[in-house]
């Protein structure tokens, strides 16, 4: 009876309209149309081209050709790749380590520690940048006073030395996200059934083998989810670098991230030319690549998961 009444019937159209349409309307208006606009614009001649090149020779893909041939764009992609790679790996490693260590404390202390770890995630990226500049940076900053000088090194001018600009940005991103990753992984570890640990205890399993056979498989899907989130957020990183480097790429463009460069191309200061078409082409290249990497990542993860199941 229940099957007949509830099992096969389709939904009432009005119900579906009420549930689906709000999202679809906003999705179309604020995502799909701008995205289409971006694609169209990236195929249009940029103002730079109309002045510098013979317009009859310019093909539809000319903005893409300029972008790929632009050494600053390539530099920004290299920087962004390093930034994303290190941020994802370090944040996931630290998050996993912290979530595991938290379980050695009482419940109340776990809550307190988790909350403290979350504090940087709750701060505005601009606050993190200001704090980095005032607290960690500088000759008398904490990094030099408590790290470099005690280890016998000369104080480093972190934001003026091209070697250190990108590590500083990575530090800032890791500092920001580790707390949230820890919270997510902690919740995942809490959800692992306790009988698995009891069996491991009876079997006399070492801590390492418990991590390898119980904890890691229990939170693998969350590590993957957090990795994708950090990857996309890293590609789109803007505020930290913007605040720390004042909208520039820093010395020798050592801290030039992709979004900062796209912003510079679209809205250059001084006598620069507004080149939204070229900026659109750059955004399309990077965003498409990001989507494809994530999509393949999800596809292979699912395949691997179904094989192991």
């Amino acid at each position: 009876m229940l099957e007949n009444q509830a099992g096969t019937s389709r939904e009432k159209p009005l119900s579906l309209v009420l549930l689906l349409c709000p999202f679809l309307i906003f999705w179309a208006f604020f995502w799909f149309i701008p995205l289409t606009g971006s694609l169209v614009q990236s195929l249009e001649r940029s103002p730079q081209l109309s002045e510098d090149l013979d317009s009859s020779k310019a093909s539809k893909s000319v903005n893409y050709e300029i972008a790929i041939g632009d050494s600053k764009f390539i530099k920004s992609i290299e920087n962004t790749s390093l930034f994303v790679g290190f941020t994802v790996v370090i944040s996931l490693f630290l998050g996993f380590f912290l979530a595991s260590v938290l379980f050695t404390f009482s419940k109340i202390l776990r809550g307190v520690f988790l909350f403290i770890l979350l504090i940087p995630s709750l701060a505005l990226p601009g606050t993190l940048a200001t704090l980095f500049y005032l607290f960690f940076h500088g000759k008398s900053g904490v990094l030099n006073q408590f790290l470099m000088v005690p280890l016998g090194f000369e104080p480093v001018n972190w934001m003026m030395d091209p070697t250190w600009i990108l590590p500083c940005l990575i530090f800032q991103a890791v500092w920001r996200w580790t707390g949230l990753v820890t919270l997510l992984l902690y919740c995942g570890m809490r959800a692992i059934p306790s009988w698995q640990f009891e069996v491991a205890l009876i079997e006399g399993a070492s801590s390492w083998s418990k991590i390898r056979t119980i904890v890691y498989p229990g939170v693998k899907h969350l590590l993957f989810f957090a990795g994708i989130f950090l990857f996309v957020d890293g590609v789109a990183a803007f505020t930290g670098a913007y605040n720390l480097l004042g909208g520039s790429g820093g010395v020798l463009d050592a801290g030039l991230l992709f979004v900062t460069y796209a912003y510079q191309v679209a809205f250059p200061g001084g006598a620069g030319r507004y080149d939204l078409s070229l900026a659109s082409a750059m955004c399309v290249i990077v965003a498409t690549f990001t989507v494809l990497v994530c999509w393949f990542g999800i596809y292979f993860y699912k395949q691997q998961h179904s094989q192991t199941c």
């Binding site: 229940l2 579906l16 689906l20 260590v101 988790l114 505005l124 960690f136 500092w175 965003a287 990001t290």
Partner: protein, 269 residues
């Protein structure tokens, strides 16, 4: 034993890195520039709240207005995003209709396509329809949340199908069932609302593009206060940073247990 000791030392150091700079920030909001530039000096010489007075005096920015705008924008967007994504999430989890995988794909694309890479084209589109310089345009631009849809789809999948069948037998439509089931997922609603609030609160590029120069949100105000060309005392920027953290500390502190519960339930699903 040694391993536990080292892990605890590691945790202690990371806790220090997470907490100490913010404590220093709070104390430095009472310091002069000279004191701030020597970060090893922990305490200010006096607890004179001159920076807070300057901040609220309106000489540099109208901080009341900035704070109100940020709260309204982030709060409004979070509530709308929560309602809209939970509705679609419910339909995807419990509805019977074709095209579910396409809708899930739409939501996934929103997550995977970097938001900042969309900002330039979104700005152009909003300018062409006259939505730039208006707070409501910025508010509405972020309500279609892919993350929210995926989150709520998982949340509603946990509701037993028997309850859904019962609701159908009683003649409830899918929309009616959604309204009935909403109280069952209150922790998830609160959690997502707070997470979306956090992400919107921290957004910088789109407000920079879409809002007018006199319509600052907190990230823009902080960037302005930190701009050396305005010669504003550092303590004023730090005071603004302290105040910008209070709403989020309050939200996370007050709902922390609920957030942990909701996330634990979500990760199981």
């Amino acid at each position: 034993m040694l391993r536990v000791l080292f892990s605890r030392i590691g945790l202690g150091l990371l806790l220090l890195v997470c907490a100490y700079p913010f404590l220093w920030m709070f104390l430095s909001s009472f310091k002069t520039n000279r004191e701030i530039y020597t970060p090893e000096n922990f305490l200010p010489t006096s607890f004179d709240p001159f920076a807070y007075r300057l901040l609220f005096s309106g000489d540099f920015i109208d901080f009341y207005e900035v704070l109100a705008r940020s709260i309204l924008l982030s709060g409004g967007q979070a509530i709308l995003a929560c309602l809209i994504s939970s509705a679609l999430g419910f339909a995807l989890a419990k509805g019977r209709f074709r095209g579910k995988s396409i809708l899930t794909g739409f939501a996934l694309l929103v997550i995977l396509y970097p938001k900042q890479a969309m900002s330039l084209s979104l700005f152009e589109w909003m300018a062409s329809v006259g939505m730039t310089g208006r707070s409501y345009g910025l508010l509405l631009s972020g309500v279609a949340s892919g993350l929210g849809v995926i989150f709520f789809t998982q949340v509603f999948r946990k509701i037993p199908d028997e309850l859904m069948d019962l609701s159908r037998v009683e003649g409830e439509s899918l929309f009616g069932s959604f309204l009935n089931f909403l109280p069952l997922v209150k922790p998830a609603l609160v959690t997502y609302c707070i997470l979306h609030f956090l992400l919107c609160w921290q957004d910088h590029l789109l407000p920079l593009l879409v809002l007018g120069a006199d319509q600052l949100t907190l990230p823009l105000a902080l960037a302005k206060l930190a701009d050396s060309s305005y010669r504003i005392p550092e303590a004023v920027g730090l005071a603004a940073s302290v105040l910008a953290m209070i709403p989020l500390l309050f939200l996370f502190g007050f709902f922390f247990r609920q957030i942990r519960t909701a996330l634990s339930d979500w990760v199981i699903s």
